[in-house]
């Protein structure tokens, strides 16, 4: 291994030189800029530091490395765009998480979730038209939001290599096509399920299974591309193979919290799901919520841990910026709030059926996922540290509130559960779960 080790050492030294060069470059540029009038340019656009030779590659990839902290003038349009994007990514999580739950229900031929599937069908159907409509402000403000759209690919190595996908035309067309196609898939599932309510034919289930089979692949790749476009490209130089899985894990986590609250509220006396939601569904959604708490932590830890260990500036700059100033505390909030608190709280089996703990837990999950989205989006606009604008809560509550109204309207326009789904009988006429903790109740 000596030989390989030597080469590694040389490469590390090269990288270190590149890092120093880039750092120096960025200081010079920052000084230049300070002399200029305050341009409405975001921090990341200062990235393109041309450097020569081999080091140029690394240097061009190290925007903002070591130069967080300079508060920039932020225009209203920028602040609005970023706050809006954060809220949009949050809502997209809920829709895509729901779509995932619908797909896996069909894919696994699940029984227990048949009685609550209408909830996720309706949630995911918000993708069309509403998530597509809500995408418009992002497309309008794209120049204000995405620094790479103002860059010349010829001047920026990391943009030049991916200019095939990262050009204004592809960006706009793909985003519309992605959200539109997700909506089409979600609506197909809902339409077939509603048709089955009427005639009870097995063919609707079969069709859904075929779509789920093809859909899971499309879902995986398209969601990755979608979150690359919408969120990761804010710092287009950053790359991580885990990023798609990372957004996915957080999304499903938040969705499960939402579904938990929805089915428990909707099954209260007099509510539409009263007779079809049992402890079994409650426990299972709770357990999945818990499982995704762990899964998210596993994914995020792995991403951070590998980047930390390898310590390559091409990657570390993303976390370096997120460890600057108060962003560090946001990171700790995610570590403890997104993982440790929910994990320790829900570790006990019986907790998943205690509403007085699970409801606050779900609300907390919403907050934490929002913090996670903020952690991804906002350091680009506010490298100096966490900056909460009034637009953040306004747009978050506005968007989720609007979607909640739309969800409620849709939910009431159709049967609240799949009346004649072939697995419905299994979901509602099954034993209570075999509670291994000894909590079985059968008297």
């Amino acid at each position: 291994m000596n030989h390989a080790f030597l080469i590694l050492k040389r490469w590390m030294a090269l990288l270190a030189c590149a890092g120093i060069l880039s750092f120096a470059g960025s200081r010079i540029e920052a000084a230049d800029e300070a002399a200029k009038t305050p341009a409405a340019e975001t921090a990341a656009t200062t990235a393109a530091t041309p450097a020569a030779g081999d080091a140029g590659h690394a240097a061009a990839n190290v925007p903002g490395h070591g130069h967080g902290g300079e508060a920039k003038h932020v225009s209203f349009a920028e602040q609005f765009g970023y706050s809006y994007l954060t809220a949009y990514m949050f809502c997209l999580s809920l829709c895509m998480g729901s779509l995932f739950l619908v797909i896996v229900h069909h894919l696994f031929d699940a029984g227990w979730s048949a009685s609550i599937r209408r909830v996720t069908e309706q949630l995911s159907s918000l993708l069309f038209p509403w998530m597509l409509v809500l995408l418009i402000p992002i497309l309008v403000l794209q120049k204000q939001i995405y620094p790479w759209l103002s860059l010349d690919p010829a001047q920026d190595h990391s943009l030049a290599v991916k200019v095939v996908l990262f050009n204004p035309t592809a960006f706009n067309l793909f985003l519309i096509a992605l959200v539109g196609s997700w909506g089409a898939i979600a609506h197909s599932f809902r339409r077939w399920s509603l048709a089955q309510d009427k005639d009870g034919k097995v063919e609707w289930t079969r069709k859904s299974r075929v779509l789920a089979a093809a859909g899971i692949f499309y879902f995986a790749f398209s969601l990755t591309l979608g979150c690359f476009y919408l969120m990761k490209s804010l710092q287009h130089q950053f790359f991580s193979t885990m990023y798609g899985v990372y957004y996915f894990a957080g999304s499903v986590w938040t969705t499960l919290a939402t579904v938990y609250v929805l089915i428990m509220v909707l099954s209260r006396p007099g509510m539409p799901l009263e007779k079809v939601v049992f402890k079994r569904q409650q426990q299972d959604v709770g357990v999945l919520f818990f499982a995704f708490t762990v899964f998210y932590a596993y994914i995020h830890f792995s991403q951070y841990f590998l980047i930390w260990n390898a310590a390559m500036p091409e990657e570390t700059f993303w976390y370096v910026r997120r460890e600057y100033g108060s962003w560090k505390w946001v990171g700790f909030t995610i570590l403890f709030g997104h993982f440790f608190i929910p994990f320790l709280l829900m570790l006990n089996q019986d907790i998943k059926r205690k509403l007085f703990l699970m409801f606050p837990m779900a609300a907390w999950a919403w907050l934490m996922h929002y913090v996670d989205m903020t952690f991804n989006v906002m350091p680009v606009l506010h490298p100096e540290g966490l900056h909460v604008s009034i637009l953040d809560p306004l747009l978050w509550f506005g968007m989720t509130g609007f979607l909640a109204v739309m969800f409620w309207r849709n939910f009431n326009s159709a049967a609240p559960y799949p009346l004649r789904d072939p697995r419905f009988a299994e979901a509602v006429t099954h034993h209570e779960i075999p509670a291994a903790g000894g909590a079985a109740s059968h008297h």
Partner: protein
């Protein structure tokens, strides 16, 4: 070696279905027996409630083991790599929970598992290679396809045992000697 005078260990009743043993357990519980048990070839769901058995305490042993494991890992690595012989490797800090995490995590699970198993053995009083019940020929089917209730002679209400078991519909009732 003179034969010891035999002492009654308890009364053993045999049942043939899961439902029957469930019913018998409820009868025994309601009759207020204290030292008795149900023997089945597999765990029957709901039997703990039927017998009135409290929740298992094994989880606390797991917790103790896991807790010890995690801090053993962290402490060990801190001691070895930061305190006792600090050595800079790969430009990494001498100690941070980050790189110490994988090993501490594994030790959490390792000691947690040992804790669980030790807890289970302690609570179940195992291993226990001698048991008067093993002398009973019928009892061999407790690990095959028959279900048993045994009320021990040490139970204060032992005098009512036969009556209760008969009422519960036992197929065979035998006395087990110690």
């Amino acid at each position: 070696m003179s034969a010891k005078p035999t002492k009654t260990y308890g009364l053993l009743a045999e049942f043939d279905t899961a439902a029957a043993i469930m019913h018998a357990a409820i009868e025994c519980r309601d009759a207020g027996f204290k030292k008795w048990d149900v023997y089945t070839p597999f765990p029957i769901h709901g039997m703990d409630d039927a017998m009135g058995v409290k929740k298992s305490l094994v989880g606390w042993f797991t917790f103790a083991g896991g807790f010890t494991g995690f801090f053993t890992g962290m402490g060990m690595i801190w001691f070895m790599n930061k305190f006792d012989y600090p050595l800079v490797v790969g430009g990494k800090p001498l100690f941070t929970p980050l790189y110490a995490f994988p090993v501490s995590y594994e030790l959490t699970i390792l000691m947690g598992s040992f804790g669980t198993l030790i807890g289970m053995f302690l609570l179940n009083r195992l291993p226990k290679l001698y048991n008067p019940l093993f002398k009973n020929e019928r009892f061999k089917r407790a690990t095959d396809d028959r279900f048993f209730v045994c009320i021990e002679a040490a139970d204060p209400k032992f005098s009512q045992a036969r009556e209760t078991l008969e009422k519960a519909g036992a197929q065979v009732i035998e006395t087990v000697e110690d």
